[in-house]
Each structure stands twice: as C-alpha cells, then as structure tokens.
C-alpha cells in the first residue's frame, strides 16, 4: 500500500519539467530614500532590462515586475515587488530608470505635500 503511494508521489515530483514558461520569483532588495522633493526607490534587479520591465500603479500600489534571461534550476528568473504609496506622491510624475541592474524609481511629492517655507516679515 505504502509503495503505491510513494510511486505516485515520485511521479508528482518529476512532473515540473524544465519549461520556459515557468519562473522563479525573487523579491529584489530595495532602498528607499526621502528628500524634500520626493522619494527615490532603488532596487537591485541584476539581469533586468527596460524591454522586459513593467512598472505600474493601481490603487496606490506600485507594482514592479521584471523578467530576465537568467535561468536557475531550469526556470527563468523574475523580479516582483510592490509598494504602497502615500497620498503625498504625484502618481503621474513617477519615473523609472534602469542602469547596470539597478532600477531607480523617482516618486516626486505632489506640490501640495511639499514643505513651503514662508518668510515672516515685520511690518
């Protein structure tokens, strides 16, 4: 009885053959830097290129997905990460650049969220 079960399970293990459609997903490490004008997100995505990169915002969630030509254990390496964005960010002004495997996302703060210094003058 137990042998039958084992055999079944072995067959199941072998099943996922090397397929180009299969991916290993990685959550790439990120740094988040804030300055007066906005937020900069830096992600280590080695092997990712502009052609296979998608950055989109939906319901204030910034989703990053990048495919690579790298393969591990017969599966393609894919990067996936998402961030919640605060209301201070101007969604239409988000920009993304990629260089040497580092993705740089610039999220400028909306004009209304920026700190405005007001000079106080005496009459």
């Amino acid at each position: 009885m137990s042998d039958i079960v084992r055999k079944e399970n072995k067959a199941e293990v072998k099943k996922p053959e090397v397929s180009k459609l299969e991916y290993i997903e990685f959550a790439p490490p990120s740094d988040v830097v804030e300055n007066h004008t906005g937020i900069v997100v830096l992600l280590d995505v080695p092997g990712a290129t502009t052609e296979k990169l998608s950055v989109n915002v939906e319901d204030r969630i910034l989703k990053i997905e990048a495919d690579t030509d790298l393969a591990q254990h017969g599966k393609h390496v894919r990067y996936k990460r998402s961030f919640q964005i605060s209301h201070e960010i101007a969604l239409d002004k988000i920009s993304a650049k990629i260089k040497d495997g580092v993705l740089r996302l610039e999220l400028p703060k909306a004009e209304s969220a920026r700190v405005h210094k007001i000079k106080v003058t005496t009459e």
């Binding site: 300055n35 290129t49 990067y79």
Partner: protein
C-alpha cells in the same frame, strides 16, 4: 472537523487516512520547496552553466563598476572580487528603508572542469558579470605498454 467527518463517511476509511497522511507528509516537502522557489528574497547570486565546450559563470553584481571588479582563474578555481561603494546621501536626504548591501565581496568556486585560463572572457551586462571559460581539452589517457 467532526462535522466534516460525519458529512463524508468515506473519510472514515482507515486506509484513506493513512494514505492521505502519507501524501500530505511527502507532499509537504514539495510545497515547501515550491514556496521557497517562489518567494525567495534577493536575486540569484551565481549561476554556473556547463556546456560542451565552455563554462559560463554569471554573477549578479548590480550597480557595480567594471573597474571595481577583479577576476582570477587558477587551474580550475575561479575567484571574483568586487566592491560596491555605498551611495552618499545629500544633506536633505534620509533613508526610510535599507536592504541593499554594499562593500567588498569575494567569491571563490571550483569549476566543474579545467579551463584555458588565457582565453577567459568577461563582460558586464545589465548588472550581471558574465564570464565564459573555454574548457581545456580532456587529457588523453596515457597508455603504458609492458615490455
């Protein structure tokens, strides 16, 4: 749990329970592996591809500069040294979150076969250091004749 058992009498079949348990136990490890593959943090560090005539070593070095990388091949040992300098923040900047690592790294691996160290080629593409190492032709067995 009890309600579910009462609803379905076939579940009370003792063999079914044993089989199910075994399946679950064996399957548990599969799921575990799957999950590990799916939710890995970071990125693949080093990938070695063994083709017929050459080896390809791919090492993830995002945001490095080629002048800060150093490759050394001795017999069938490959050593890669690299350094990534931490970015300096401007006065008005501050980190909200930090995960990326900086500094020096040194990785040494034994290659699956001997290589022609003079013909090693390295390129740095999209944050990945790709090193191609042509294999040394296999030594022919030396036959000793007994006179």
């Amino acid at each position: 749990m009890l309600a579910r058992l009462n609803d379905n009498w076939s579940l009370l079949n003792p063999w079914r329970t044993v089989n199910g348990l075994q399946k679950e136990l064996l399957g548990l490890f599969d799921d575990f592996n799957e999950n590990l593959n799916r939710y890995r943090a970071g990125y693949p560090q080093m990938i070695v591809e063994d083709a017929e005539k050459e080896l390809t070593v791919k090492m993830s070095l995002p945001g490095y500069e080629s002048k800060d990388m150093d490759i050394e091949v001795v017999s069938d040992f490959l050593t890669i040294r690299a350094e990534r300098k931490a970015p300096e923040l401007k006065k008005d900047e501050k980190f909200l979150h930090r995960e990326r690592s900086f500094g020096k790294i040194e990785e040494s691996i034994k290659l699956p076969s001997k290589v022609k160290s003079g013909k090693v080629n390295a390129r740095y593409i999209d944050g990945v250091l790709v090193i191609t190492l042509p294999k040394e032709e296999a030594e022919k067995p030396h036959v000793v004749k007994i006179s």
